[in-house]
Symmetry: C2
Subunit: 331 residues, 2 copies
Amino acid sequence: MARIAVLGAGSWGTALAVHLARLDHEVRLWSRDPDRGRDLEAKRENRIYLPGFGFPPRIRVMWELERATGGAEAIVLAVPSLALGATVEKALGGGTEGGTWVIATKGLEESTNRRMSEVFAAVHDRPPVVLAGPSLAVEVAAARPTTVLAASVDAHRAAAVQQLVHGPAFRVYTSTDVVGVELGTSLKNVVALAAGIVDGMELGANARGALLTRGLAEITRLGVALGARRETFQGLAGVGDLVTTCSSPLSRNRSLGEAIGRGLGVRQAIAGLRQVAEGVPTTRSAVRLAARAGVEMPIAEQVRRLLDEEIEPLEAVRALMSRPPRGEGEE
Amino acid sequence: MARIAVLGAGSWGTALAVHLARLDHEVRLWSRDPDRGRDLEAKRENRIYLPGFGFPPRIRVMWELERATGGAEAIVLAVPSLALGATVEKALGGGTEGGTWVIATKGLEESTNRRMSEVFAAVHDRPPVVLAGPSLAVEVAAARPTTVLAASVDAHRAAAVQQLVHGPAFRVYTSTDVVGVELGTSLKNVVALAAGIVDGMELGANARGALLTRGLAEITRLGVALGARRETFQGLAGVGDLVTTCSSPLSRNRSLGEAIGRGLGVRQAIAGLRQVAEGVPTTRSAVRLAARAGVEMPIAEQVRRLLDEEIEPLEAVRALMSRPPRGEGEE
């Protein structure tokens, strides 16, 4: 059993803390906000982001960063993407030393299109381990069967994290393709948005299968152009995360797409969500990255046009269906 | 516009006939059974297998094989898999000559595990074109957006069929990987059965994503061992067909799995279906082919054990989740 710090008490950080405590690790769940931290400790439950899951005794809630990270064998980052760099800097400034850094935060940094491990590398030189894959927080908290990836350029660290977090209902595979795992699990939100649009327009299961396939093909193309391995997109960080996101009625990105597909204006659909749908900035990042890399991403481009209200959903579908016929794999 | 014979007036043959007639082809839809043929011609609708879609004027129903195939530029085989070889033999015996053969029949021959193009090759030496992909018949008939593959070892024939059948709502990609296209679209039914079991047990979206990913990985392994190209399984014949089948409440294989996952006995669940679920014989074929090729297929093996009532659903899940942790891609 190890001492593990989980930084960030949103739904994903809390679910990971619950999971790790069930494995008998000594978990320190850190909340940036002292008031929220005291409330979590008093209620022993995260009623805002993960209601219904009482904390096992092995979780201790903290709101002082050094106390949470001190002596931790692993430090799991589950803070919002915008706060990741600053949180690591603050922890390092406070004297945090040993321990493996685990990045559980998802997404791309909006202004720079950087992956989370790139943001991390700008403030610390130790290779982190990225923990990602098809893992809805509420299902992990409920101990439903889940599989994820522990990815690091340092295979030993990835294996160490695999040992720490693997459990009876939480199967962990290792990978050394950090770029692919981060890009797959971020870019899938572009396809989830598009899948939601297809669902909202009631285009059917044939269109859904085609959309996921061609969407996966174009995020694979971009990923490979940016240094990822093709196989990663066939695995849990690609197909797996995409299928889970598109299967879940809870996915904000899929739901936003569905509202747009039903004909609700984009601004109104976005305003209707209580939380941010990362797919929106991720679509813009994808289109920018694709242009820079000289990669064709027809689906992402149509989603971008829809989000910018340049076209209507039907025009987007027509544009995609009327591209010249060709061989599969050519583009 | 061309003259095209569609042999077999089940749901898929009828849907293809309706689609081709809408493209202004002169379609001859052949039913093996003269009484059924006369009934189809009288009603101008297939009320049993594809109700709700009146035949366009360009469809002519026939029940004499030579009349249907005579002078046809393309002959589309949409008969049941057990009848494919005999139908081709009979047509050839009746003097059918020119024309491109298109195989739209799916599945593996139960007793021999042969693909449909292998069955075809045993009776005719001209390379056929396989038409397959994520294409629920009712959606094709309803002109909902659909994408499929035209696959042939003869790229010119594949391109010719692409030209013939491509339409505004029916996008056709070509491929030369006949083995991969046939295996992907057949073996996906094993994974659809397993996905149904996961749904019936209410294991959640994380488990669904994992199952589809690992299921796709193992049918890819078997396909590659049998001569298919890996990329084909990332395309419409793999990911695409799998997602469409698993998204559809109409899929017999997924529904059968769901009944089993809910705890209904296998015999009872099978008896509850009015039509055959091809996933059952396909699972047995897959396990046999995998054993012969020396390929590990843990999911197919657990589905086989469930179908043979050797284990209960919960044991199958436990067996899959308790395999030793490893790297993604290793097996």
